[in-house]
Amino acid sequence: MVHILNSVLSKFFEIIFLPFQNISPWFGMIFISLLTGLIMLFIFKLTSDQEGIKKTKNKIKAHLLELRLYKDDLRTSFKAQGHILLSNFKYMKYSLKPLLIMIIPVILILIHSNFWFAYDSLGIEETALLKVKLSDDFVPTELDTEITANDSIQIETAPLRINEQNEIDWRFSAQKAGVHEIKIKIGEQLITKSVSVSQNPLSQISPFKKRKNIMDQLLYPLEKPLEKNSFVKSVEITYPSSGFHVLGINFHWIVVFFILSIVFGFSFKGFFGVEI
């Protein structure tokens, strides 16, 4: 079930980001933020009590006015503040349902967008680490290891084994563009990990492959998980992290995404007649 959802969603994101892969990631970000803003807007409109929200907001405005008009009357002021507080709780109650519904598609969008915006793919001749984490009772130096890849990937170092952390690392370099596969044999277990090498400014990156469980399958949806009983806990590729530069400051993509989504949502609420 999770696997099907992952396949569908990752294909969906591949299709929607297809026109933006050769241009600045800003375009893809603006598009996905706009889409998210509109989705949030529609969910809010369909799932919230629009009339109730409107009335509550009007009440808040009325009590604010009351506060201003009767600022010299302490009793009325306190009463107005109490009403404002109550109305706020009411407003939050009206918002809760749409927010709870909204959170599901937003999380899915965040999960999938993360693999488009959080990392840069490897460039030609760029190096990265391949890190394999083992279960606690498996000692790296006691296991035979073998790593192979086609000529698009060059394994540059012997394995670096850190017994204390149950970790085995290799350094490799990318030689050709494309999505490649590295095969790792540890003990008797054979595992694979995909590697993205691309010159495109925007591409889908899968840095982790984890052992099978529902949460990790949702969080790392791009590759088939490792077997549930595997002694390999995870396989990671250290892709360079990405970000968005605004006035010389590097912002995490999520910050940019939320700001833009909210801006788009508020910009279109009047157009679609949504009461927020």
């Binding site: 680490l129 012997a158 394995p159 670096l160 084994r161 850190i162 204390e164 690392d169 350094r171």
Partner: protein, 675 residues
């Protein structure tokens, strides 16, 4: 220990009442950081873009020697140089007095001699304290600070000041809106104010404010020497196949007593394979034994809102049986320079964006690491190859976009490799090793070939209106014997010690009896009279007494011969009044020592140490040098035009450039055009 040509390192024993190396060097740090952290940064400027029909490309190959060059040209091994000689002209180029790079390039930049630009040596002396000071730049801390709960906050900004006087030729060209790009020229740190594109070269410090201090981590305790120059050696332990260590950073000017900042890092060693993984801040990388990392950006936190960023690279010298890790001096990050590197400020950022991080330290190759054995010949060459590769890429970039005005491009590798590899072409060198020589004897020739390739590329780019010049600031000679000038002064009665038994133990003249000392030497070529009303404890009256003393000492020095070889040690002792003109004489030595071929001032002398011997073999890998008499080591001058002047000098080139663009030559320039 002080090394000529930029690599200042000192061997000074630490004593409570003594100024040690760190104290001497750290002055230039903190205020620099404050300056860079101050909110008022220089805004991006745009250089003049007047299109000129005449264009000039000047290739500055530091230290290229005319004798070597001519020999290889005659053998047909340097075809581009040969072509330029045949189609244009080739002369030796009169160097500066003394022939040290900061002095020589200042002559080139200003068209003046040291009397005009005020740079007499790598280091000058403070006549008040007799302590060495940097000649080219001065860093001062914020004048006022406010202290709050152990923290110090600047109320004014610090300052880095270029001490070279006189206007640079590109500043004059700017007045006429003629664009220039001046890449890594020495003696221009901090870069002289201009809208032209300039990147500072020799003299640019590392992030500590020094000329370059590397860090070396070793499990071999015998290698740990706190007095070693140009390096910090750290004893580390491999525990559970891990090494935990700290990378020292700049002092923290925001905290009282300015404690040193540092960054923790961990090295994971594979139990069997010669590979390690290094984790430092957000970097995690694997290196094989004998492998260099690329540049890593390191942040040193000062206070929560302020940090200083530098770049360094790592070299795993050995994993087992002993663990040895070298970390290069931490260079100023060109993408976010904590100290001024370029004009406009955006220029270093532009280069970083195009090429990634690059060496910004004045003389990038770490000669002291080779001298101290942290890097061997091959490893040093690998490091200098990285430097060269960066330079060549940027040269290609600048040459391709050059279409107007002047392009000056500087290469340091020619100088650095001759300093360090001369012993492999000089069978008389005290460190000559036949086996090593057979392996490295072509190192110097190879770098000349690289220079030839650069020249070839330039000549292909040059159209008929482009004047191409290939120059060097001086030549090279062997450095076999070192002369302890202060010991000679003492033996001849001009310098007296407080305690004879302590001779050779103290530096910075700590054992000098100034009340009975008539002369002292400091720097690489300078000799000073202990003059009344100039030096704080001067005893020699200016006028006839001083003049007589100057000529007496100069005469004796010129007569002095090496008892081992019978050769003159000092070919010519120049009297300052006779060789300098101009009004920047505050730091002028009274006598400039022009050493004979094969001789140079000792490693101990420049910082006021007085060993017992007068002459010794030079046992340092720094085996080629140029701090000799100027006539022994002229530079090169080739151009694709006929050179009319019979004996062109470095200071003639500034007026030559101005004349090419028909700009009036300012009166203070002593040189004259060569075309």
């Amino acid at each position: 220990m002080l090394k000529c040509n930029g690599s200042v390192t000192m061997k000074i024993k630490s004593k409570p009442n003594q100024i040690n190396r760190r104290e001497f060097l750290k002055k230039s740090l903190a205020a620099g950081s404050l300056l860079a952290l101050s909110p008022s940064q220089v805004l991006t400027q745009v250089p003049g873009q007047k299109a000129t029909r005449n264009k000039v490309i000047i290739l500055g190959f530091d230290g290229v020697d005319p004798h070597l060059l001519k020999g290889w040209m005659d053998q047909g091994k340097l075809p581009a140089f040969q072509r330029l000689r045949e189609s244009g002209d080739f002369r030796t180029l009169k160097t500066s007095c003394p022939p040290q790079s900061p002095v020589a390039w200042s002559n080139f930049i200003t068209g003046m001699n040291p009397g005009g630009h005020g740079i007499y040596d790598f280091i000058h002396r403070d006549p008040e304290t007799y302590i060495p000071i940097f000649s080219a730049s001065k860093t001062s801390e914020a004048a006022k600070t406010i202290s709050i709960n152990g923290y110090e906050f600047p109320l004014s900004k610090g300052d880095v000041q270029l001490l070279r006087k006189g206007r640079a030729w590109w500043q004059i060209l700017e007045d006429y809106d003629i664009p220039s790009t001046v890449f890594k020229i020495p003696s221009n740190y901090p870069p002289a104010p201009t809208k032209q594109r300039t990147l500072s070269g020799m003299g640019t410090p590392d992030i500590l404010g020094t000329y370059g201090i590397c860090n070396f981590y070793t499990t071999q305790s015998t290698e740990v020497d706190p007095d070693i120059g140009g390096a910090r050696v750290h004893e580390v332990y491999v525990i559970g196949n891990q090494v935990h260590a700290k990378l020292p950073g700049p002092d923290n000017p925001f905290k009282k007593e300015h404690p040193e900042t540092s960054v923790d890092f961990v090295v994971y060693l594979d139990p069997v394979n010669p590979v390690v993984k290094i984790k430092i801040q957000n970097h995690e990388f694997i290196l094989r034994e004998g492998e260099w990392s690329n540049w890593k950006k390191i942040h040193f936190n000062m206070i929560p809102t302020q940090s200083v960023q530098g770049i360094c690279n790592f070299y795993v010298k050995q994993v087992r049986p002993e663990f040895k890790l070298y970390i290069s001096p931490i260079n100023i990050d060109p993408a976010d320079p904590v100290l001024p590197l370029s004009t406009p400020k955006s220029y270093s950022k532009e280069l970083e964006k195009e090429f990634g991080p690059f060496f910004t330290k004045g003389l990038p190759a770490d000669t002291s690491a080779l001298t101290n054995g942290f890097l061997n010949d091959g490893e040093f060459l690998e490091q200098d190859d990285i430097v060269l590769e960066e330079r060549l890429k940027m040269f290609d970039y600048e040459l391709n976009r050059f279409d107007s005005g002047v392009l000056f491009y500087y290469f340091s590798s020619t100088d650095q490799r001759q300093h360090m590899f001369w012993r492999h072409i000089d069978a008389s060198s005290p460190l000559y090793d036949e086996k090593l020589a057979s392996h490295y004897k072509d190192t110097i020739f190879n770098i000349y070939q690289t220079a030839d390739m650069v020249l070839d590329q330039t000549l292909k780019k040059a159209d008929k209106d482009t004047i191409v010049m290939a120059i060097s600031d001086h030549g090279f000679t062997p450095f076999r014997r070192q002369f302890h000038i202060n010991t000679w002064l003492k033996e001849n009665g001009y310098h007296r010690l407080i305690n004879e038994r302590n001779q050779g133990e103290d530096s910075l003249f700590m054992n000098t009896d100034w009340g009975h000392t008539k002369a002292y030497a400091l720097g690489l070529n300078g000799l000073y009279i202990n003059q009344k009303n100039r030096e704080s404890q001067g005893i020699v009256s200016p006028g006839a007494e001083k003049d007589n003393l100057v000529y007496e000492i100069a005469g004796k020095l010129e007569k002095f011969r090496d008892p081992q070889t019978g050769e003159k040690v000092v070919l010519k002792a120049f009297v300052a009044d006779k060789v300098y003109s101009g009004n920047q004489t505050t730091y002028s030595p009274d006598i400039i020592l022009g050493f004979n071929r094969g001789y140079r001032i000792s490693w101990a002398s420049p910082l006021g140490r007085i060993p017992k011997k007068i002459l010794e073999d030079n046992q340092d890998k720094w085996s080629g040098d140029h701090c000799m008499a100027p006539q022994v080591i002229p530079g090169i001058f080739l151009a694709n035009r006929k050179i009319k002047k019979a004996n062109p000098a470095l200071y003639d080139l500034s007026p030559t450039i101005l004349k090419i663009f028909r700009i009036p030559i300012p009166g203070e320039i002593v040189g004259t055009p060569v075309f």
